[in-house]
Symmetry: C2
Subunit: 212 residues, 2 copies
């Protein structure tokens, strides 16, 4: 049947990774209950049997997908060098990195939505995610502190609230793109408006930190 009847090659790592890649797309696109293990398997070069062999079941596969997705985004954030920038520029930079990452990883955004739809019940089983994420806020905290000492930022602003502000803006733009587009006929991801929204976010955040 198959034209390229390649002799079966064995590569545990590749099979595992391939399953994770396809499962990420599938869970992001169809949600947890909407995703089909058969469909995931069919889109790889291996079979459904391997999902159970490597992960144990649909739920554990989902968990592995979630864990890897979060690990990736936090790794990207950690790569940002913010020390050599003045506080205002550093804050803008952090906002922009989040902005860019959300735009570049829609599957991750969707997974966040999927996990929230399930009240984040799986996430609690992935304790190490907490460490990863708190480091993201630590970075922000440092910048705000520095800005306060320099007198360019006001007092009493919590880093976590700033993080929430940035995330909410970036998240909404990607996650609710479709209903927003349907209701208001505006594509929030239109490349022509990208720079504008990126700047708008920076203005918002720095503006908030400098309000009287």
């Amino acid at each position: 049947m198959s034209v390229d009847a390649q002799p079966r090659r064995r590569d545990a790592e590749r099979t595992r990774a391939e399953l994770l890649d396809v499962a990420t797309e599938e869970f992001a696109e169809r949600g947890y209950s909407g995703a089909r293990v058969d469909e995931i398997a069919n889109r790889t070069r291996t079979t459904k049997r391997m999902i159970y062999y490597y992960f144990g079941g649909k739920e554990q596969l989902y968990l592995a997908v979630l864990e890897r997705a979060y690990a990736e985004i936090r790794a990207a954030e950690q790569a940002v060098d913010v020390e050599h920038l003045d506080p205002v520029a550093a804050l803008r930079r952090l906002a922009e990195v989040t902005f860019d990452h959300h735009e570049a990883h829609p599957a991750f955004i969707k997974l966040v939505g999927v996990e929230n739809a399930q009240h984040a019940k799986h996430m609690n089983h992935v304790a190490r995610l907490v460490d990863l994420n708190s480091s993201a806020v630590d970075l922000l905290h440092g910048v705000l502190d520095r800005g306060r000492r320099d007198g360019v930022f006001r007092d009493g602003v919590d880093a976590l609230d700033v993080h929430m502000l940035i995330s909410s803006f970036c998240f909404f733009r990607v996650a609710n793109r479709h209903t927003f587009g349907a209701l208001f006929d505006r594509d929030l991801l239109d490349p022509a408006r990208r720079t504008f929204y990126r700047t708008m976010l920076g203005d918002l955040v720095t503006g908030y930190l400098q309000e009287v």
Copy 2:
């Protein structure tokens, strides 16, 4: 079997409404594919048969749920009297109404997420939603115009972008409550922080409209 073997009462409107209510919860909680028609029916005083009798099927029931949810939120928004407030206060008021509504209607927020997960493909079949929603932005547009004439708001700010800003903040707080709580150990819906976030949103929006 049934203790209260009440003689069967017939009430088409009530049966329909009950199905809609339960279906709203079910679709919001479990998503479109996660929701079960049997489960919806079991949680009402009627049977699955009635879903097909009144709505035609699972998909049409979902559509009816979506339509009603949107109609309700827009009706609430229209009730806001904004004319007698000065532009800054009016803007704050609009933001607060959105804030309150998001908090009071988590099921609606979840439905928005569910619909986006499906690329808003159902929403396009509900054309009249567009009218409802554009009126929400018209209100905002009027306030911004008035503020510009009074010289308290700067030029070049689009009402739809302000609407997006307000929505993103309110939406994130409700929709991503669970992952945010799991990762950062902060409940965004904690009543003790409610006033703070409500004020923060007002500060953000008015601050953005007054930036240099």
